[in-house]
Symmetry: C2
Subunit: 569 residues, 2 copies
Amino acid sequence: MIFERVFPALSWLKNYNKVQFGQDATAAFIVTMLLIPQSLAYAMLAGVPPEVGLYSSILPLVLYAIFGTSTSLSVGPVAVASLMTATALAAIAEQGTASYLTGAITLALLSGAMLVVMGVMKLGMITNLLSHSVISGFISASGIIIALSQLKHIFGIQSHGDNVVTQLLSMIKNIGQFNLMTFVVGASVVLFLLLARRYAKRFFIMLKVPETYASSLAKTAPILGVLSSLGLVYAFDLQAYGVNITGNIPAGLPHLSLTFPSLELVKTLALPALMISVIGYVESISVGKTLGAKRGEKVQPNQELIGLGAANIASGISGGFPVTGGFSRSVVNFDAGAVTQLAGIMTALGIMIASVVLTPVLFFLPKATLAATIIVAVTTLIDFSILKKTWIFSRSDFYAVLATIIITLLLGVEVGVASGVGLSILLHLSRTSKPHVAEVGLIEGTEHFRNVKRYNVKISPNLLCLRPDESLFFVNAAFLEDFILDCINKRQDITNVVIQCSAVNEIDFSALEMLESLNNQLSALHITLSLSEVKGPVMDRLELSGFLQHLSGKVYLSQYKAFKILSEM
Amino acid sequence: MIFERVFPALSWLKNYNKVQFGQDATAAFIVTMLLIPQSLAYAMLAGVPPEVGLYSSILPLVLYAIFGTSTSLSVGPVAVASLMTATALAAIAEQGTASYLTGAITLALLSGAMLVVMGVMKLGMITNLLSHSVISGFISASGIIIALSQLKHIFGIQSHGDNVVTQLLSMIKNIGQFNLMTFVVGASVVLFLLLARRYAKRFFIMLKVPETYASSLAKTAPILGVLSSLGLVYAFDLQAYGVNITGNIPAGLPHLSLTFPSLELVKTLALPALMISVIGYVESISVGKTLGAKRGEKVQPNQELIGLGAANIASGISGGFPVTGGFSRSVVNFDAGAVTQLAGIMTALGIMIASVVLTPVLFFLPKATLAATIIVAVTTLIDFSILKKTWIFSRSDFYAVLATIIITLLLGVEVGVASGVGLSILLHLSRTSKPHVAEVGLIEGTEHFRNVKRYNVKISPNLLCLRPDESLFFVNAAFLEDFILDCINKRQDITNVVIQCSAVNEIDFSALEMLESLNNQLSALHITLSLSEVKGPVMDRLELSGFLQHLSGKVYLSQYKAFKILSEM
């Protein structure tokens, strides 16, 4: 059904039943409890007002539920995309200004549009071109940057900086502003959250909560941290002791409006929006795939692009910033038993209620609490075991990951992503630029040819038979040319060269030019060049190009035939 | 000998003789005649004073003679690098200002330093990553931009523009400034040069000049155009009719000085300098290789980087702009019989003499003559047959070339190069992201396995045997995973999967993660995953990584063994 392909929601709506509703509602309740503090905190990280975080957690969830394909993915503000948003906007406006907010909305709209276009063009495969290890190095480094950027809220000091070094120096310089009461609040929440992560599940089990819910309930500790710390501020007037609070958050629902950004702004934010889209999508699809695999459920990459794209456009229209599927939240959603995307719609409903009812209460919420929530959340992102694993497994992967981490820490997320992608592509190119080329000889008594280094085979002194184990492209064409010329330099009595093309699935135009030039160079040395076992499609193209008319040798159907004829010459 | 590796000049100096001297001197004389007008013309194209063109043709030639490895390459100002110089400097200063000249010198120094570093680090291979067809499309498009930019000098009008469209519009707008006498001079020189290209060789042969020299002498037509047109201007006072002339060129030799550019300037010019270096090197090495092949002489890529780098640093120190090996000039040098790099040193001497003696005469040289020289020279660069050839041979190459040409024409050389390189890499990645994967079966009566689509082989319904014909990397890992899961979806009775790794030379970390995730997903479906014929180095790494401990199946030494055991299960 075409309708079900475009609106995956139709397929689960058809057979929806009460049991599923109960499961989805429970998951939605727990995720809402988790999403409220996260929305506020990531809004602070992105540098936008707190209500914008809530707005980004309403409509986007509904749109993803309609267009997305994962039953467990929980869409909304996430740490890395929020950091990237702040980085992109730092260049164009001051936090707190109207143009900063316009920038955030533009980023959401742009990245939404880009994702939808990529989805419609079925470009989901493009993200395969990113190396997982490099991405995970990037995310760990981002986690450090995020945690460090939030420490100032825990200490109650000011600090600014483009990278971890300047950030640290600025904090040391301003350490005189240290506020004890802020630190007590922030540090207590950090401690509480860390203890909760460790012991809360056991605690709920002690309270006879069924085990499946206990672990999910344990994850809602942040909302308890939020409520109790704002209670303390209110009760003991901690503001008077210098504790920064969130202040007035306008109660109510987002106003929908689509304002087309200026061309100037689009130009400035296009590249950052692309990076946010791609990184967000990669994070999201890997969460969706991992959780989907546990249920034997298949996530459709191109439809996911459309789902996330629609969510981001919805975020932009409702005054929000870029969103994507978050790892920890999706795991909670999955564990808490969400079975369809209706869980997401109910979560959106929960956040809507919170936006109306809860916002007056959040006036007294200490910023240190939000910072503590962020810091504890991102510790799960920071995982340098990738360095150890790649060191053992592949030294070149290791260097790529290490360079990405260092560059991200020192030069920021944008340069970090770009260099990570660039490095992994360069490494891949340099690896493929040296294809395996075997000199082959005849296994006597058969018509088979094998590598002379590994088999006891018959060769002919005047004949050089080579088998490149790769298609011929511009990246490896020069290597093959040099390889053949080197062989000829070493063995003076060669009069014929045969390239066995059994592994050559394709020849691009640069490789064709190389073959033409090789043919000319060999002719000048009175050596013929022949090909054998050329595959059908490659042969068709060689014929069209006119190359075969200039070829000094012939094209042989089999390497055996070439060997028999040329070695008897 | 290490000395000879660092100073390739030593190897030809040792056995230098009279006959060689005669040949080199003749070639030097002819190349000097060609280089004088080219130096002046490309200086005009680059937007620097004419004497700077001459300075760029003295010391750089000497340094290349010492460090370079090609006996035929003629180093100096060339068309494309001059255009790129003008483009890079347009952003930072007005032509004719001191800071514009400082910029040109900085470009030469930077690109020299980059080339030397690349040479010392033996990065010559990097240029293999550029697709030849894309580069040739870029050079053709640059030829058009150059020719168009010179037309204003022929018409005697002003024009400005970032791309061919604005350039054309600006010319149309200013066509009222059209100066008839300028046009007569310019058009006559164009005509003369085109006729000379066609008939001059025959003419010299008629005069009993030996054929080898006739074709070289024919190439010196530009100097005749220069001398006769400046003679006409002087004799008939054409200035009075509005013909623009070169004016005062300070006579004398360049002053050597090394001024370190500001960090700000280095930052701005680093990327353009890199592009100029890479494009210049690619042009140069391909000329060197082509001519070298005719004499069975091998050009050393890394030493060439050092040679060209030294030449550019020398150009910067003597107040010049970026230089490289030019195609037409090198062919003349080769045809005229240059046998060692001493020809280059003697050419430098010729230009030195011209700088001192000839400059007063050049006062009356019409700019239209220089423009005519450039236009006729670049027509040899413009060759769109690449479009036809790639259209026939490989559609994806065709689109990459076409896009590069259009982007270069519309957005300029810098964006053009960058997109060309980016496009060819993307195309390559997307091609390698879908490796050939064959389902294999047993050829009965043997232990060989072949593609089920091409051979009549035995397969077992519960066993899926796949042979990926490529190493496993991040670019193709996801494809293989999807391929296997699709096969399993289609054939419900599969209980065992075997990946035959006979063509897998390497597995990177992303591919390892994919195998781990695949193993988990198959386990959840109660399907085992096994490997067969894993190569030694790959096996060592898999063992280190701990992957084999989680593998649900086994690693079999041969595909036959795997088949025998698993199909009997």
